[in-house]
């Protein structure tokens, strides 16, 4: 391997680190109208009236648009598909729901005038929490739709009997707060119409083809009349799918001017698509050898007003992570008067792991088996059945457990109030068909054209793959994401699948381009293709490197008046129905201040099977980021709502993302157990490392303190309170505000 496995810098580092990157809000079209959104301040209400007169009177305001100004077909009262929701019509269903948009000549005027719009609400009873949604007499959040919006169940064997006859049973309830993806770039969109009805949309999306379909469906346009120009994503983490694009598109076509909609931070917190709150009751039964004999789980995910919670994946993984003969899994999503749930890196699984991995730890403790050894005995590996009966494709997390076990941190002596915890994360892996092209340029470089969005550095990974296959250094490859009108197909950047899917298309396209280059050179040099090789700028005869042609010359021979050779234009078009499962085992060491409950992470090791490390530096970065988010989620973050459905944590002052100084030194251990169908054996990388951190911290906190936390985030207050409760502390105050 000449390029695969090298630690290379990301091609996008420079513009991002120097502040030169152009984000959507930086794109300015002459004549743009800036939109200021008026969002609902009520979680559930009828709208008696909207007074736009003061806003309209503001100099620089061109229009104030409410649902009354939109076409009839946008005004459905109940819209399951978020993409088809424009502006609230007659009633609102969550705080942060768009009611009106002020269009002005500049953004400051639009924002100021939006504050002048007054809405007369007639408040209705609010379903503010997922538990409340389950009450028999709860109001229904969406008319005619039960609050339990979806349920999945998996059953295997006789779980009651297994629990009844087990040597050890642990069962417990857990709660996990909703969390926001915490991207630095708030949602933004620019829409530009042309008078023929075609629409161009600039948006920092994770999936341009998905957005195109959504916008076309919402606006009743032909897909060919919508062009998505994906702009740089300033942090996505699963959140950045369809939101404001249809509204911006309609405004652009209606007003005949470019439209810019950029959320403020507060609006972004209130009205977007956070990861949902979850309520998880999980139990494990084991025999005295530590073999898991039964597992039951009852999972409830809040989905807010729109239906997009991760309950299906969570239900599946609850019953698939460990090999258990007897299963009973129920997983559901419930509607509440909150903004609709969205995806966030390994959707639903950090919450699930928090519950499941805590219980595994308890079983280990009860049986006196090492936490690593117990997992090794029970963890599902390739060939085992999943909850739905599908068979796990090849993978083996036992390799990671072995690595953890032999790591010095696992065996190192502990200081006072210090503990060490381990947790395991696992994802099924996603796969999808994909295409790519590869074109030789006049300067002998190769352009690789794809349709995938670079969310996590995939451009660099695809560059290395193309360089390895084509036979040149990465500097001579440029990977470009074309817009929807011309890009080869790619699925959304989600499910850790871009390298696993588009990577294979790039292998094929670059390989095809290489063969075309070799054929042209073979004719010119009068040798067989097999006798040729490529270095950075040349095609040469193996063993006689001065018999060569530059890649520039190959281009010139292929692209010319009367050329007998076709242009070098490689083609990659792949299907790969076999998934490449991903797994990670993390080891966390913490020191707990018993006086304050503050948890300090004193050591962290993340072990992950990446199949093949295309760029280990990039993978380290992905793992570091995921662990930082996972620790934030585990210790700090939570979207808190009051009983009226008001979000209490709508700024970065109230919503405590981890600061740089709070992130510990994170050691990564990359294990390469190739995925049979991945490019060079690569598996997905981005999501799985966010699954274990909270669980590993919980187990470490237990090891340090002897108390088990059952709610995320494990704030200092909660840790202190748990210790105080355990110790029957005389000063323990009542638990008043614990809404997380």
């Amino acid at each position: 391997m000449r390029v695969i496995g090298k630690r290379l810098k990301r091609p996008d580092s420079r513009p991002k680190l120097t502040g030169h990157e152009t984000y959507t809000a930086d794109i300015r079209y002459a004549g743009t109208l800036h939109g200021g959104l008026v969002l609902s301040t009520q979680a559930r209400a009828r709208i008696r009236g909207i007074d736009t007169s003061a806003a309209c009177a503001e100099p620089g305001v061109v229009a104030v648009v409410t649902a009354a100004n939109l076409p009839e077909w946008t005004r459905a009262d109940e819209v399951a598909d978020r993409a088809c929701f424009f502006l609230a019509h007659q009633r609102v269903a969550y705080v942060g729901q768009p009611i009106a948009v002020v269009l002005a000549e500049d953004a400051a005027t639009a924002e100021r005038a939006a504050d002048l719009v007054t809405v007369d609400y007639d408040p209705l009873p609010v379903v503010a929490h997922p538990l409340a949604a389950l009450e028999p007499d709860a109001p229904t959040v969406r008319d005619g739709v039960p609050n339990v919006n979806g349920t999945v169940e998996y059953h295997r064997g006789d779980v009651e009997a297994a629990f009844a006859s087990a040597a050890v049973v642990v069962e417990r309830e857990f709660r996990a707060a909703g969390v926001h993806q915490g991207y630095l770039e708030p949602r933004a969109v620019i829409a530009v119409g042309d008078p023929t009805g075609r629409l161009t949309i600039f948006t920092p999306t994770q999936g341009q083809f998905m957005i195109r379909s959504a916008v076309a469906r919402a606006l009743r346009l032909n897909e060919a009349d919508v062009v998505i120009r994906p702009s740089t994503v300033g942090g996505g983490f699963g959140a950045k799918y369809t939101l404001l694009e249809p509204l911006a598109g309609w405004l652009a076509l209606h007003f005949g001017r470019p439209i810019s909609l950029v959320l403020t931070r507060r609006q972004d917190f209130a009205g977007t698509t956070p990861a949902p709150e979850a309520l998880l009751r999980v139990g494990i039964a084991a025999d005295d050898e530590g073999t898991f004999t039964g597992l039951r789980a009852d999972l409830t995910y809040d989905t807010g007003y729109f239906s997009h919670s991760p309950y299906l994946l969570a239900g599946l993984m609850a019953g698939s992570t460990y090999r258990v003969a007897n299963l009973a899994i129920v997983s559901r999503e419930v509607s509440t008067n909150r903004a609709g749930a969205g995806a966030y890196r390994a959707p639903g699984l950090p919450q699930l792991a928090f519950a499941l991995e805590t219980l595994v730890d308890e079983v280990a403790q009860a049986l006196g088996i090492s936490a690593v050894e117990l997992r090794r005995r029970n963890v599902a590996v390739g060939g085992d059945p999943m909850a739905d009966g599908a068979i796990w494709p090849p993978f083996d997390a036992r390799l990671l457990l072995d690595a953890v076990e032999s790591h010095p941190l696992w065996n190192a002596p502990l200081g006072p109030d210090e503990g060490c915890g381990v947790a395991l994360g696992m994802m099924r892996g996603a796969t999808e068909s994909a295409s790519a092209s590869a074109r030789l340029n006049p300067d002998g470089t190769l352009s690789v054209i794809v349709g995938s969005i670079d969310l996590t550095g995939t451009t660099g990974g695809l560059t290395q793959i193309a360089a390895e296959v084509f036979g040149v250094s990465p500097e001579r490859i440029s990977v470009l994401t074309a817009p929807t009108d011309s890009a080869p197909h790619s699925g959304v950047t989600g499910g850790s699948k871009i390298i696993y899917t588009v990577g294979n298309a790039v292998v094929q396209a670059a390989g095809d381009a290489r063969q075309q280059v070799l054929a042209i050179a073979a004719e010119a040099l009068e040798v067989g293709s097999d006798d040729l090789d490529i270095d950075d700028e040349h095609v040469f005869v193996r063993g006689a490197p001065d018999r060569m042609l530059t890649l520039r010359e190959v281009y010139a021979r292929s692209v010319a008046i009367g050329s007998r050779h076709a242009p070098v234009f490689g083609h990659g078009n792949v299907a790969n129905p076999q998934k490449g499962p991903t797994s990670a085992v993390h080891l966390a060491r913490v020191k707990v201040d018993r006086e304050t409950g503050v948890v300090r992470v004193t050591g962290y090791v993340a072990v992950q099977d990446v199949g093949r490390a295309i760029n280990p530096a990039e993978i380290d970065g992905q793992i570091h980021g995921a662990v930082a988010q996972g620790i934030g989620w585990g210790l700090n973050e939570g979207m808190l709502y009051d009983d009226d459905g008001q979000l209490l944590t709508a700024t970065f002052m109230d919503y405590p993302l981890l600061h740089g100084q709070d992130v510990p030194q994170i050691e990564t251990l990359i294990v390469e157990n190739p995925a049979p169908r991945g490019p060079f054996g690569a598996r997905g990388v981005g999501e799985v490392p966010i699954i274990p951190p909270a669980a590993a911290l919980a187990n470490a906190i237990y090891a340090a303190t002897g108390v088990r936390l059952q709610a995320m985030p494990m704030t200092a207050e909660r840790v202190w309170r748990a210790i105080a409760q355990r110790d029957q502390h005389p000063a323990l105050p009542p638990d008043g505000g614990d809404r997380g």
Copy 2:
């Protein structure tokens, strides 16, 4: 054939006819600096100084840039490559040469302030006409380069002996004025840099990859750092290649703001790339059977200050149009102090045909052989040698002569002062390698992605080709030209070769997509691919049309999580070294007013071999346009310069394009003699019909009046003068101002 051969509307008609098309000058970026060019008013001079103070003082002016502000490497005194010429440094070489550019916040200020820049010239002797350039003591236009800048010669047999022993010899000198392409959209460019040094250029170019290479070379950038976004061409006709793009690009990168440069009409006339003046001495020798036994030609094309005249093609075609055993051809280009020559539809050949076809007519008259019959006996056909020894690929203009001969207009009785003339035009045809992609969309439509510029309606032609091959109606195909960063390769839109080259790539890409669709449907429907066919929206089993899958369903099966099928993404990549020659024979009937010399066209028939008519309506349009231009060129148009090199015809008041009412009814006769390697047999269409009109008019004028014109344009004054001279008119004034 379901689609090929159908008369369909052009997809771009609607936006163009309704005024909704966006041209380059309509693209407005926020923060744009508008450039006002200061052009030389002297044809040859040293620059003593440039006073920019008044312009700089104008409110709204941001900068005035001269060569002194440009980097050293842009300031070469003698630049053969127009792309590397930025602003005049120390001296000027033609009227209209850019000296400075004023950058202002709006276009009106830029233009006004440009008028305030004063240049102190020290005039030098001017080479104002191509004949003057050939004088032994003429100043050299470019230091160290002879005024005869290039020469090509072809010799075959013994031409002196052939002329000495011929039954008939005709030999004469002809002149043809330079002409401007007369596009309605003046040259315009928008350049947008980004702080990382990458450059995006919007330009109405005929060849985006050529412009990219030129800009990269001129600005010393990597090609990958230049993206050309080709905008709609508002008329090109061969003119729209590199001109202002490098300068605009440098300004955008230097000032960090978008730059817009839009020429005024007068600037466009003065400083762009017109078709050159030509001086042609041609002779034909024939035996008494009418067989051409000798041909000699001495051709001189003005190339102005830059080297891009069509002398090579003209020399080749002078000796290749007819089958002649003895040849002596010299063709040269000469430098003058005029703007550099450019291409204009069939470059150099209308001028050549004016000379050659007049002489053929004279031979026919001398021998008493019909003008059609004489051509039929001598015209070169597939298999004959060209002047350079290459062999003509299959084609046969005799089919066209047969068609003319049997046309009623050829045999119809003539009124008084009416005459009928015929002329033949021929082009070698160009070819080049090309690529294309074809992608199935969610709505079951097919996107065809190419890199070629639509100058003449090729988008419609490629749409029909893709529709025919894929098996759907043209409404379900969209053809898109992607920008340079992602487009499949195409050569420039010149040489009538887009359908002939990119058309083949589209045949392959659409055919590949069709096979992929059939394979997916075959598996779903459990039949063989061969048993399936496609109609507009379905794939169905032949003979059992209710066993079917919609194309939407095929898409859904190919693009999905876990899909076993790859996306439908067809690939076309072709080389076609065999050219597809094109030929046309035109028949013109004119009535001449002997009192005024005014020529009125009373009938016109254009016969053309198109190989295969993809869209006959489109071909009619191409022929109509070419004949209108050809008549304008033959009767009206001419760029006139005085002896100081000042252009006297720099507005559409002075440069008389044909008006609508001057264009006669044009009858087209399409002959389909398939080109073996053309898509469905198609040959190029756009250029050849501009070759015969002036010559056919000259022969018709002779038939009407008995005088032969030897200078183009054949203005009323010239016609009147020729008749007066022949008749020894007593009032004949001296010929004072005949500069054409």
